[in-house]
């Protein structure tokens, strides 16, 4: 192994994926866990992989306490921190502190200045406007005054009325929020003030900043993402697009598909390939402008008439990175790439070693997020103990990522989301991928019982139903 040692500052399946990437790259690693996660496979695997007798799993009080992470990093001589997604992955202060301490640590992600600049939706919007990249009509600075907010909302309602929008509405968003949190839709000006105050309170409580964004609410749009990979040497490549439109009521993604549109399954009213090309070009332009130097996702909405609007930039690895990698081929490489490995290599200063023209795309990939939740009751989370967890064996058609053990029972921790597994399906065509995804669901067996003996509830039926109408408006 090399001298580098990575502290994996995350939990669940992403911790396992990072661990696997470390093993491929011949890097040492250490994981952290909270008492609630003691039974997670990421802890068991970290122990298993250390046949040399070195301890590689440490109990901490909280994943959100940076002092805990730095203390473990120092105690174990880690040289880098991989934040995964969520937690500290988009926290520029954390990334800056990694470099500012006496014992410096490599933050596996973009430079902290880039996280700061693109982490704010408002700043991203301003930058995008400057570069001529289309953004959603609305504010490009946080609003702190109720009177100003009402004025903007009134204007947005008026302009939608002028455009002949059938059900005009605006979105009120916590400007420092993310991941679908702190967003509400308002249908008329009369209820605006109430929603504005609620979001302002929420934003203050959760993000420490009561700034609010007000935007026109677009309808019948698709949520498109562009996966970029950049190095510290100015190289910028993309791994195509993804369609992440299928989301739960809490704006949490459930089914993702790469590429973003497929004209063979739907007659779009616009030239789908040209639209995807446009969002990729704009994304690359912004990445080059800010000197982006890691993996990142540019999130877009594309309306029914094919108009793209930049939504935000996620300066981290995404849950769904696997489907972009699954459809990509890099000339000279036998297998499809791993974006996690590429991200780690890039953080340690490696050159990518390939250009955009070396990357080609093949087939369609679908990600299914298997979650213990009741989709009929507002996606309410289910908690209890899983007694059987059998996912189909990995094959050329699918791979899976999970922190749920299949050889023992597992009680879902009540402190975190009840995500159980990710399945990444690949097919030569979208229809082929869809058939395989259905086959995967059919062969998945999950059993368990809740605190009062009630049967486990998962979203498998919901996922199967949603597969019927992927990629269409």
């Amino acid at each position: 192994m090399t001298a580098e040692k990575i502290l994996i500052a995350n939990r669940g399946e992403i911790a396992i994926r990072i661990m696997e990437a470390c093993l491929v790259l011949d890097l040492d690693f250490v994981v952290v866990y909270t008492p609630e996660d003691k039974e997670s496979m990421h802890v068991e695997l970290a122990m298993d992989k250390s046949h040399d007798g070195v301890k590689r799993a440490y109990c901490i009080s909280n994943y959100r306490d940076p002092n805990e992470l730095f203390a473990v990093a120092d105690a174990t001589n880690a040289t880098a921190i991989h934040p995964g997604y969520g937690f500290f992955s988009e926290n520029f202060r954390f990334a800056r502190r990694c470099l500012a301490r006496n014992r410096k640590l490599t933050f596996i992600g973009p430079r902290w200045e880039v996280i700061r600049d693109l982490g704010s939706k408002i700043n991203t919007k301003r930058l995008a406007k400057k570069l001529g990249i289309p953004v959603i009509p609305g504010t490009d600075m946080p609003i702190y005054s109720e009177i100003d907010a009402e004025g903007i909302a009134e204007e947005l309602f008026y302009s939608q009325d002028q455009q002949g929008v059938r059900e005009p509405s605006v979105l009120v968003k916590a400007s420092a929020g993310g991941g679908g949190m702190g967003i509400e839709e308002v249908h008329d000006l009369a209820t605006f003030r109430q929603v504005y105050r609620r979001i302002q309170n929420y934003a203050k409580r959760l993000f420490g900043d009561e700034g609010v964004l007000i935007e026109q609410c677009l309808r019948d749009y698709h949520h498109i993402e562009v996966q970029l990979l950049c190095s510290q040497h100015g190289e910028v490549v993309h791994f195509g697009t993804r369609n992440c439109t299928i989301q739960s009521t809490g704006r949490q993604k459930r089914v993702e598909i790469a590429p973003g549109f497929d004209p063979s399954v739907c007659n779009y009213s616009f030239e789908a390939e040209k639209t995807l090309e446009k969002v990729v070009t704009h994304s690359v332009k912004l990445a080059k402008h800010v000197g982006y130097d890691s993996v990142g996702t540019w999130e877009w909405v594309v309306t029914q008439d094919g108009m793209p609007y930049l939504l935000e930039v996620n300066t981290r690895i995404q849950v769904e990175n696997g489907i972009s990698a699954r459809i990509a081929r890099i000339s000279g490489m036998n297998d499809y790439p791993s974006l996690l490995e590429e991200q780690i290599r890039s953080a340690f200063g490696d050159k990518l070693g390939y250009k955009q023209q070396d990357i080609s795309f093949e087939g369609t990939s679908i990600e299914l997020r298997i979650v213990a939740e009741d989709t009929r009751r507002g996606f309410s989370p289910w908690c209890g103990t899983i007694t059987r967890f059998d996912l189909p064996m990995p094959s050329s058609s699918w791979t899976t990522h999970t922190h749920v053990p299949s050889h023992r029972t597992y009680t879902i921790p009540t402190e975190y989301d009840p995500n159980l597994a990710l399945a990444i399906i690949w097919g030569a065509t979208t229809d082929d991928a869809r058939v395989k995804a259905k086959e995967f669901i059919k062969n998945t067996r999950i059993e368990g019982s809740g605190p009062h003996g009630e049967k486990i509830v998962t979203n498998l039926d919901y996922l199967e139903n949603r597969l019927q109408n992927i990629l269409i408006f």
Binding site: P35, I60, N67, F70, V72, T414, E415, D417, P418
Partner: protein
Amino acid sequence: MDTNLNTILEEIRQNPFEKQVITTPHTGVLTFSVKEGAQVKGPGGKWLQRPGSLLFTVERELNSKKIFSPCAGEVSWLHTELEGSFTEAFEPVLTIQYRLTKEKVIERILKQVLTVFAAPQRARYFLSPDFSAAMEKNACPAIKPGDEIFIMSLMKRDTILPYSGDGGVVQNVFFKSGSIVDEGTPLIGVCPPENLESIQKLIAQVRSEWE
């Protein structure tokens, strides 16, 4: 209410001790300040503003956190191998054996004599803002079935948990708002209004009889 206080007190008197395991609050390098068998003091002062005896310190990121004894008693066990080493969070460090205080005895008795509303499942519980305000106004606020008195936070979602059980007055809250409570652990103790006087007498009796 047919509570034989003398029987309960007698049971407690037969073994008036409890043990409290002290764990590390977070990771860090640990240094002991006490030895096994040492007598330690609990917090003191009118508002418990004086900390108890210093038990150990945990140093992390050049910051030392001092851990003081939460009760008066004797250090009955010490994990001596941890001295000077990097310790994980929630690692048991020492045990203090202490004699039950009046408040602890009252709490034990109340759990037996009051109608207890227990946590339906392991989750983080909060008192609802309305109920917290009612508690501030009146130490024993009245409740009836259906009153929204708890917020159960589970898997990042908050759910209002209404009270179910006989109406009455809330005599005691057994948990700290915002803490994780295991399934079946009492959250509040409710007393029918007609029994309130006898419960308060019972509390007064413990206060006078328990040395």
